[in-house]
């Protein structure tokens, strides 16, 4: 074997090794979740999805309250984050040279990299803290939604911007040449043309916030009960995993693994959907 071939083999093996290093942790976590939590879901499916937790030492119980709380929180976060993110993204793409767009692009780039726990803390301090918050409700579910929306918005905005920038300029000009207004061009021609890209952007944002725990803990706190009202703390899956996982009780730890498995499957599902849509980012041939 000559030196060239040897080097080639070396680099190829290195590439495979890195690939393995990438795949092993994910697979390992996945199997760990299945081994340690999967049987719990299978053995008590109804209880796991429909019931709330039991005190330590008592067998059984479920994470229904956390699933419910997460759905509520994510739902409100999407309700706020999707329109703002999509509109912001459209603005960034269609008014790309305006000073506002430049500033917003810069800030959303920073916000994307922002530690999410800080977003939670800021939300807590300015929104719901009994001392400094403008609404002064104390830790509350709506605050967590607000924090999650803030985390989601820059991600959605930049992805929507990217989707709009894939539209060839001739299409835009074609619409204007038909006498269409800005509003008509954007919402009747361009947005439908990149709807797959916009859906992808929303799914990417959702996948990002679905597993967040830190901002929820600081803005909403912890709850072991069913959702009561928006101004009270609510349960959520990531926080439940955190609390149950760190507890010394075997039953809770098992349920934390089961909840992890469920969350992992959900995020993987969203990611899978996003990938399917990404293949058709732009409707053109």
């Amino acid at each position: 074997m000559n030196l060239k071939k040897l080097r080639d083999t070396l680099y190829t093996s290195l590439a495979y090794l890195s690939l393995l290093l990438l795949i092993i942790p994910l697979t390992w976590i996945f199997f760990e979740c299945i081994m340690k939590g999967g049987y719990y879901i299978v053995s008590r499916p109804v209880e796991f999805f429909m019931d709330i937790g039991r005190p330590p030492g008592v067998e059984g119980g479920g994470i229904g309250h956390a699933i419910q709380g997460s759905l509520y929180m994510l739902g409100l976060a999407l309700l706020v984050g999707v329109p703002v993110g999509v509109f912001a993204g459209i603005y960034l793409a269609e008014r790309k040279n305006s000073p506002i767009a430049k500033a917003a692009r810069f800030m959303s780039d920073i916000l994307v990299e922002f530690p999410t726990i800080l977003v939670g803390i800021v939300t807590y301090i300015f929104l719901v803290s009994k001392v400094t918050g403008i609404l002064a409700t104390g830790p509350a579910a709506f605050a967590a939604s607000f924090a999650l929306a803030l985390i989601m918005i820059p991600i959605v905005a930049r992805s929507v911007e990217t989707a709009f920038l894939t539209i060839p300029n001739e299409i835009r000009e074609g619409a204007y040449a038909l006498g269409l207004l800005d509003r008509q061009t954007i919402f009747r021609i361009l947005l439908p043309a990149v709807r797959a890209g916009v859906v992808t952007a929303i799914l990417i944002g959702l996948a990002k916030i679905a597993g967040e725990s830190a901002p929820i803990i600081v803005s909403n706190g912890v709850s072991n009960f069913w959702f009561s009202r928006w101004t009270e703390p609510a349960a959520s899956m990531p926080v439940l995993i955190y609390v149950y996982g760190l507890s010394p009780f075997k039953e809770w730890q098992t349920q934390a693994w089961a909840a992890s498995l469920l969350l992992l499957l959900l995020i993987m599902g969203v990611g899978f959907l996003a990938r399917r849509f990404t293949k058709k980012l732009w409707a053109g041939a």
Binding site: I171, G174, A175, Y176, L178, G179, L181, Q184, G284
Partner: protein, 262 residues
């Protein structure tokens, strides 16, 4: 103003990023005729065309001065005073590269303009209008069986005729063509050229072309633009057979113009 004028341009200056592209052009485009704008690349042909329906305003840092008068419904309107959306409806534009909306069907490409502009209402009248204009553009027989197909499935030549039909559906009075046969084969080029000549019965046609031959085939009048100035304007026969300007003669005989100052 004269009865046989459709567009009157007076001392038009256009600059982009402070670079002067058009340097004082004055020209009267005759009604119900094909006027070809010829000139080398970068001479400002397309910018002149885009100034007429104000599509040029989509570019950043554009400055337009001078006046353009456009005849709409037998009255002259100042283009830069008129609502640009109304102007663009009445002064259609066909692009160099066919640009149907790729995510819409052939039919939807035809109906979306009239629908959003409120020209026709209701499915039936929109579809009737679409058929009429597709016939006018000579595309109906080729697409009538597949109106719900995506527009990008059509061939390049068909796409371009769809774009012409789409412009016709807005009931314009003037249609601007920006080198509409670029990249098309001879057959499709010929069909579009014939279409342009046919359309002058109902509309005024102004077409940019870099091909002197094409101008000779389709145009009643020729305007020669060079370096942002109108060098010569006259009937096709007079410009091609006995150009008065030396530059025109150089250009139509295929001589290099680079570096010639005007």
């Amino acid at each position: 103003m004269l009865d046989n004028v459709a567009v009157s341009v007076k001392d038009l200056h256009v600059s982009i990023d402070k670079k002067e592209i058009l340097k004082g052009i004055s020209i009267d485009f005759p009604r119900h005729a094909v006027t070809a704008i010829i000139g080398p690349s970068g001479s400002g042909k397309t910018m002149l065309l885009r100034s007429i329906n104000r599509l040029i305003e989509l570019l950043p840092n554009v400055k337009v001065s001078g006046k353009i008068w456009v005849r709409i419904e037998n009255k002259f309107h100042e283009a830069y005073v008129l609502d640009p959306h109304y102007l663009r409806r009445k002064v259609g534009y066909v692009f160099q590269k066919p640009n149907p909306f790729p995510h819409l069907s052939i039919l939807k490409n035809m109906t979306i303009g009239p629908m959003l502009n409120g020209i026709a209402k209701g499915k039936e009248s929109l579809e009737r209008l679409a058929e009429e204009k597709l016939r006018e553009a000579g595309l109906w027989d080729e697409v009538k069986e597949r109106l719900n197909d995506a527009a990008w499935r059509l061939s390049g030549g068909q796409q371009q005729r769809l774009c012409i039909a789409r412009a016709l559906a807005l009931e314009p009075e003037i249609i601007l063509f920006d080198e509409p046969t670029t990249g098309l084969d001879l057959y499709n080029t010929k069909r579009i050229e014939e279409l342009m000549v046919r359309l002058k019965e109902k509309y005024t046609i102004i077409a940019v072309t870099h091909s002197v031959d094409q101008a000779g085939r389709i145009a009643d009048f020729i305007a020669f633009i060079y370096n942002g100035k109108l060098i010569e304007f006259g009937s096709t026969a007079s410009v091609l057979k006995s150009p008065t300007n030396e530059l025109t003669e150089l250009f139509i005989t295929g001589k290099v113009l680079d570096g010639v100052k005007v």
